[in-house]
Symmetry: C2
Subunit: 265 residues, 2 copies
């Protein structure tokens, strides 16, 4: 069992709509479980043999759960020929923590786009990018997630480390699963919800808890690392949007997401 | 009562979590009710006195409802100091038609952005743009929505009318409510889900039913028309994404959305 599959495994209760899960503290930023990881747990519970891959996941983040036991409650909303639509809810200590709407289908890796305006991502080679550590000097908190994801950040958007953020509103990185397995649609949800948030490169240090995140998975990723670029459109006094795109080693857009976060500076 | 408020009115049943609604055929494209209109109905049901404005709405579109009576079932997921989070479900004939997750708060129109990369929208003056009719010659179907929305399309993205689409993957327009009232966060959901879809300007005529739509409302719109620009990132064999931004008369970004649609050409 790989780290990721183990960390997102779900055990059905009798009836098949509720699942026991153990939220794994390794998939955390500071003391908070990572949003993309939580979506992957919900997606795992909502998957079916016929429609195994999430192709849209949208979620409200209500209350951060703690590592440890939790329950996923699922409801099938509609089963179509090509798509199953579900609702999934993460409950812990009697409180709803995350609620998601999920559409699943069978994703292909052979489909060619009919039309595309997706910019190719411009990143220095992987070994010229900067590996993010679990313990970043001066960060004031650890990022356990960087022990299970090998992430190398574009040095052009690392100004925040030395107190000179680019203020371009972009962060970009190479990402691999540290257990050596290739990305799949569920783990790609983790890659899309990139750490650090764009706000760091805007000179706005501080916590940016996700309020809402929507991801579209466009095709199966090819083996090898993903390249992810995240940009913000506008940062208000209390909220920021972030849009992410992920490309695979065949230079294809495999996934995109948008999220709204609070901004606690 | 204005057209829009009347068309989206909801009548609470005893208990206060279920609402009777009458889906209004004027808010349709062909014979299908408009997705943004349906979200406004759900948002109206989920609104509260303390947190009256939707600031995030994300929804799965399961089965198109018909004009006429339907029921909205709501569930409050979390009530916070600044935000109420809810789930709302549109049911008709015993079938779930649309399911939405909604976060509400009190939006301001005074907040200035801390940082913005939102491109200003470049549109010819409103009277130099092309009003979309209910009955477009050669369209093969009518668009009743254009009787309740005054929409003027940028003539630079009207090539599809004469069989010469720009293939740039952008559509943009001026929009007003035909009843003369100003936009509010609920009606802005209609403006964001723009008709025609971007696919027309890509030479891909055909139906593009929404699978998923997520909207973020960033501030209260100023009085007067909205300008909306929609672009696609990638069109696959069966699905297309569309991202929309709406600006008010004070040149401020008031809302943004992303949607995934099926593509039936």
């Amino acid at each position: 069992m790989t780290h990721f599959n183990e960390a997102t495994s779900v055990r059905p209760r009798p009836g098949g709509t509720e699942f026991d899960v153990d939220l794994d503290a390794r998939w955390s930023v500071g003391t908070k479980l990572h949003g993309g990881y939580l979506l992957a747990v919900l997606g795992r519970a909502a998957a079916s043999a016929r429609h195994p891959h999430p192709h849209t996941v949208s979620a409200s983040f209500l209350e951060p759960p703690d590592p440890g036991p939790a329950v996923v409650e699922t409801e099938t909303l509609r089963v179509g020929r090509g798509t199953t639509q579900s609702r999934a809810r993460l409950v812990q200590g009697g409180q709803i923590r995350v609620e998601a709407l999920i559409a699943q289908s069978l994703l292909e890796d052979t489909e060619e786009p009919v039309w595309s305006a997706a910019d190719q991502i411009a990143l220095p080679p992987e070994d010229a990018c900067f590996p993010l550590p679990v313990q970043a000097p001066g960060a004031g908190f650890s990022v356990p997630l960087m022990g299970v994801i090998d992430q190398r950040i574009d040095p052009g958007v690392l100004g925040f480390v030395t107190g000179a953020p680019s203020r371009r509103g972009v962060v970009a990185s190479w990402q691999r699963l540290a257990d050596g397995t290739d990305w799949d649609p569920l783990s790609t949800l983790v890659a899309l919800d990139m750490v650090p948030p764009v706000s760091y490169e805007l000179g706005l240090a501080g916590w940016t808890p996700t309020i809402q995140l929507t991801a579209y998975l466009r095709r199966l990723p090819a083996p090898g690392p993903l390249r992810v670029r995240v940009h913000a459109t506008e940062v208000g006094a209390s909220r920021m949007d972030q849009t992410a795109f992920a490309w695979d080693t065949k230079d294809r857009l495999v996934a995109q997401s948008t999220q709204l976060t609070a901004l606690r500076t």
